[in-house]
Each structure stands twice: as C-alpha cells, then as structure tokens.
C-alpha cells in the first residue's frame, strides 16, 4: 500500500483529502505545520507528498528542500492559493516539484494526478 503525506494547515482540506485518497486505497498521513511536516517526512516513507507553500513555521520551500534531500525521487505536488506566477511557486518548480494545483481545486482531479505520479 502506498503512503501519501499531506502537509496542510487547513484542517478541513486535509481531512477532505484524507477521506478522498483513502477511498483510493492509499495510506494517508497528515501534518498541520512545517515543523511536524519535517518530522513526518523523516518518520514515514512517503511515496508522494502534497504540500502548500504558505504553512506555519516553515516556508514550503524549506519543506521541499528537505524532502528532496531525504528522498530525492519522491514526487511532490504543490497545492496552493498563490498563483503560478508567484516567485515562490517558480522557485518550487526549480527545486523539482512535479505538479502544481491551484486552490480552488477539484479533489477528483487531484486524485487522478496522484495516481499518475505515484506509479
């Protein structure tokens, strides 16, 4: 069973994603902020990470950097309310992020992209 790590401070969204992805048969871990996110990256072995760039205590960039250091091949999806043209998002792409989904989003579409990337 594949593991997915979701780093998102909005509890409702993370619960919803949890619900949706569990339906597809994944094992989902959630983290609410940058610090627990970093810990979760170290603790679990995610096959895919979904993260926002604006989270408490750490910038999304730091999270992505850390993730790529620990698991260089792990696919990362950035889920954010910031636009694609924002500098911080472009920086994320430069670091090797696999996909970017803007908020508001379609959970089913997200699930489709997850399935594609996790293989």
């Amino acid at each position: 069973m594949k593991n997915i790590l979701i780093i998102e401070d909005d509890r409702l969204i993370s619960s919803l994603l949890n619900f949706r992805l569990k339906k597809d048969g994944y094992n989902v871990t959630t983290a609410e902020d940058g610090l627990s996110g970093m810990d979760a990256i170290d603790a679990s072995e995610p096959d895919l990470i979904i993260t926002d760039v604006m989270i408490p205590f750490k910038t999304g960039i730091e999270i992505i950097n850390h993730a790529k250091k620990v698991y260089p091949k792990v696919p990362i999806i950035v889920l954010s309310s910031l636009g694609e043209e924002e500098a911080i998002v472009m920086e994320a792409f430069n670091l090797g992020v696999s996909d970017f989904i803007p908020k508001p989003f379609n959970p089913n579409e997200l699930a489709v992209r997850v399935r594609r990337l996790i293989q």
Partner: protein, 486 residues
C-alpha cells in the same frame, strides 16, 4: 499652634490618600469594563476579516520595517532572516547598525553578501553620521538594506531608517523580537479599514517569550517563566497590554505604542519631525507629538491597536536589568509629560489632554511618589500612636484584595480572548504570582520608579547595559530535560 497645623496636615493627607485610592479603583473598574467590551468587539470583527487578498492585492500599502541594532551580533543574522521571510507582499527591511562595538556589521555583510553603495537619499530628519548604506548583490535579499552609522541611540537609529524608507507605512521594531509570519498583514488592517478618519499609528502587543517553546524563530508552545519576576511580567502583559491598552483604544486615548512593535504612517512621522533623540521615552513621545499635530490641525484621526499575539520578546528576569528598564521607562514618561505640558487639561486636545495626560501624570508618573508617601505616612501614624492608622491598614487591605481581583480578571480575560496559556500548572503558578505580587514585587516597582524620578532630577540619561541572553535558553533547557525524563 504647631499641633493644630500638624493636625490639619495629617487630615488633609488622609483625605488625599483616600481620594487617590478611590480614583485608582474607579479607573481600574472602568478599564476592565471598557477593555472587555472592546475585546468582545475585536474578536467579533476578527471573524469577518478575510486576509487572503492582503498579500497579493495592489491596493495594499507597502511597509518599511525598520530595526535598529546595537551589539546584536549573536542573533542578528537569524533575526534578519526571519524578518525577510514574513508573509507579506510589498515590504522592505531596513536594519540600522547603531555603531555596534561587536561584529554585528561583519556578520551581516558576510551572510547577506552586502556591499556599500552610493545610495543617495534626502535627510528628512537630522541624524548622526551615516557611515554607509549597504545592499545585497544577491537578488534573493533585494528587500534588505543595512545602514551603518555612528552610535546615536535608538531614536537616532530609527530616524536614519526612516530617511531611507520607501513605503508609506513604517514598522518600527526591536530586532530581537520574534514576529509571527502574518504580523504584517494583521497590523496593516486597521490602516486599511478605516473610512472616516486617518489612522496615524497602530500599536501591537508584545508577549513574553521566556521559557516558551521557540523553534526556528517562532513560538510554538506557551509556557510561563520560571522566576517570579518573569511571571509577574506575564501578568503585567495581561493587565497593561491586553486590558489597559484595549480600554484606552475604546475611547481613542492611547498615548503609548511600544517601541518594540509599532506601526506608523510615514508621511505624518516626517511631518512631525521623526523621533526625538534627546529622550529615553522616544516611543511615547512620538505618539503624543503625532496626536498633538492632528489635534492642532483639526483633523479626525485614530490610533489603532491590535491585541492579537503577533510579537514576542525575552523579558529581563534579573532584578538588576529589570530595575534599569523600569527606571528608564519612568524617566521617559516624565520627559514626555514635561515636553508636552501644553496638552494638560486643555480641552482643545480632546481625550488626549483631558483624560490620557492627567491619567499618566497622576497615576503612572505620580504613582510611586504617592504610594511611597502613603506608606511612610502610615508608618508615621502607627509610631505616633494615632489610631487612625487602623483606617489606613484597612485601606491597604482593600487595595490588596482589589489588585488580586483585577489581576485574576486579567488572567481570565486572556483565557477568553486567546487562551494561549493552557497548562493547568502554569495557571496555578500565575495565580500564586498574583497573590504574592503586591508584597514582593510591587514595592520594588515603586522603588525603581522613585529611582527613575531621582535620576531624572539628577539628569542621568542613557539606556544602561541590557544584556540579551538570546532565545537559545528554551532550547538548551529542553536538552537538559530529556535525559531526566528517560
């Protein structure tokens, strides 16, 4: 003949102390009610504040963050980095190196790839000699500017920063304060929301970071300090900041904005001439001067206040340093009140002149003097066998019970508003502090205040050496705790 005179004096003093005590009690009762109403309104308004657009909207004003630094070499790089990563759109960070004797400048230049530039700017406010204006060659740090100047004190350093500020709002902060990432967005809201009046300044609240869990420059868990002095300052923060300033804001009489976390309208600051470097209470003096200007030019205005916990600092836990701080605060208060005497009880100055100024003059400035006199008076009465001392003892008892009530109220107040201090044992410790404060701490505060008066009269100035221990403390403590738990 003399007996008669003495009798009259004694009775007059008795009445004066009675009037003073009643005034203090009345003020505190009014303050609790006003602050409760204002906080209730504020929390309701917070529910409707949608901050999602603030960062990206073109309507949002730009902010220039100015942080003076003196001998901050130990932490300056970390602090500057955290300032640069605040969640906001249009802002710049200006660090002013006020002639540090340590390696503040070198550390900054090295970490941020700074070079001296030929920056040309206009000196709106006269300052001490500027040695150089530094910018980074690395575009990631484009928001950062470093001003290196000869030592001139905090007000002078702030003025130097203001001269260079490019945005319409100034954020004057202490460089070693921790700011939450959304502090800029939240503090800018009062400036943006007001329709009818000009918001000239917005004050914030500074929490006590001692013993809190601080990881990577952010407060993650609130704990209460270990020492009695530290805990007393937490209570004071509840009482004076959360309650007191909220109450003043309700009647638009706020006369003091913390120098460590205050936001100002730049244009107006320049119009009144910037900070006044000759006083140690430069933060209060500027606000009073700005208010005066608005009153004198007959413009409608408001001094805003955001009580949300957005900024924290390490408060002094040693008596030595705390006494110097209180001494300095008293001198600052006296100086400001003296400078702006024109305002006193002058109806032309509205709430500022008729309520705020007299309050600060009598209770904040005069408080220690009156309390000490009252105390000596009581002692005298007891020794001369005048039994009316019983009445004063009764009065003291009343004041004690009352002060305990108010402090207890302020703890509950914080609990209702933000509930950051959740730990049961911490709350018990705070209650114990409340019970002990009038005996163990308050007399010291009075003494330090008196010293402030004395030093003011003697003409002593300056800041005293304030040692910073750095935020490592909480983290170090954690390292020690863990083996014991095992």
């Amino acid at each position: 003949m003399y007996n008669l005179l003495l009798d009259i004096l004694v009775e007059i003093f008795g009445i004066l102390f009675l009037v003073y005590s009643f005034s203090v009690i009345s003020f505190y009762l009014i303050m609790t009610v006003l602050s409760a109403l204002e906080m209730r309104d504020h929390l309701k308004k917070n529910k409707f504040a949608d901050y999602r657009d603030v960062i990206t909207s073109p309507v949002t004003p730009g902010i220039s963050v100015i942080a003076p630094a003196y001998n901050e070499g130990q932490n300056i790089v970390q602090n500057a980095k955290s300032l640069l990563t605040l969640h906001y759109g249009k802002f710049e960070v200006i660090i002013v190196n006020d002639g540090s004797k340590d390696d503040t400048l070198e550390k900054m230049v090295e970490s941020f790839s700074l070079v001296k530039t030929d920056y040309a700017y206009y000196k709106h406010v006269e300052t001490g000699k500027i040695r150089g204006v530094y910018k980074s060659t690395n575009p990631s740090f484009a928001k950062l500017t470093l001003v290196d100047k000869e030592n001139g004190g905090k007000a002078d350093a702030l003025n130097a920063g203001i001269n260079l500020a490019a945005n319409e709002i100034l954020a004057c902060i202490d460089v070693d304060c921790i700011l939450s990432s959304d502090s800029l967005t939240r503090m800018v809201r009062p400036f943006m929301e007001e329709t009818n009046r000009k918001v000239i300044a917005v004050g914030g609240v500074i929490g006590v970071a001692n013993n809190c869990q601080v990881k990577d420059g952010t407060v993650t868990e609130y704990r209460v300090p270990d020492t009695l002095l530290g805990r007393f300052q937490v209570i004071e923060y509840f009482r004076a900041f959360l309650m007191g300033r909220m109450a003043w804001t309700r009647i638009n009489g706020l006369m003091l904005i913390s120098g460590a976390f205050g936001f100002f309208n730049k244009e107006l600051v320049l119009k009144v001439g910037g900070y006044f470097p000759k006083t140690v209470g430069e933060d209060m003096e500027l606000v009073v001067r700005m208010r005066r200007y608005m009153e004198e030019t007959g413009q409608k205005y408001k001094v805003g206040f955001v009580p949300d916990p957005l900024c924290w600092t390490e408060v002094p836990e040693s008596e030595n340093i705390l006494s110097k701080q209180r001494n300095r605060w008293m001198r600052g208060t006296i100086e400001t009140l003296q400078l702006h005497q024109k305002v006193k009880l002058n109806p032309k100055y509205g709430v500022l002149g008729m309520v705020s100024y007299p309050y600060w003059s009598v209770f904040e400035k005069g408080g220690p003097v009156i309390e000490m006199t009252g105390f000596l008076y009581t002692l005298l009465m007891i020794f001369t066998g005048d039994i009316s001392a019983l009445y004063f003892v009764g009065l003291f008892c009343l004041m004690y019970v009352f002060s305990v009530m108010i402090s207890a109220f302020s703890i509950l107040f914080e609990g209702v508003a933000y509930n950051n201090y959740k730990d049961r044992s911490d709350l018990n410790k705070l209650m114990k502090t409340v019970l002990l404060e009038p005996f163990l701490i308050h007399p010291k505060i009075v003494l330090w205040g008196l010293k402030g008066h004395w030093h003011f009269i003697k003409g002593k100035g300056g800041w005293g050496e304030m040692i910073r221990t750095g935020f490592k403390k909480a983290e170090d403590k954690k390292k020690i705790d863990i083996p014991i738990q095992l």
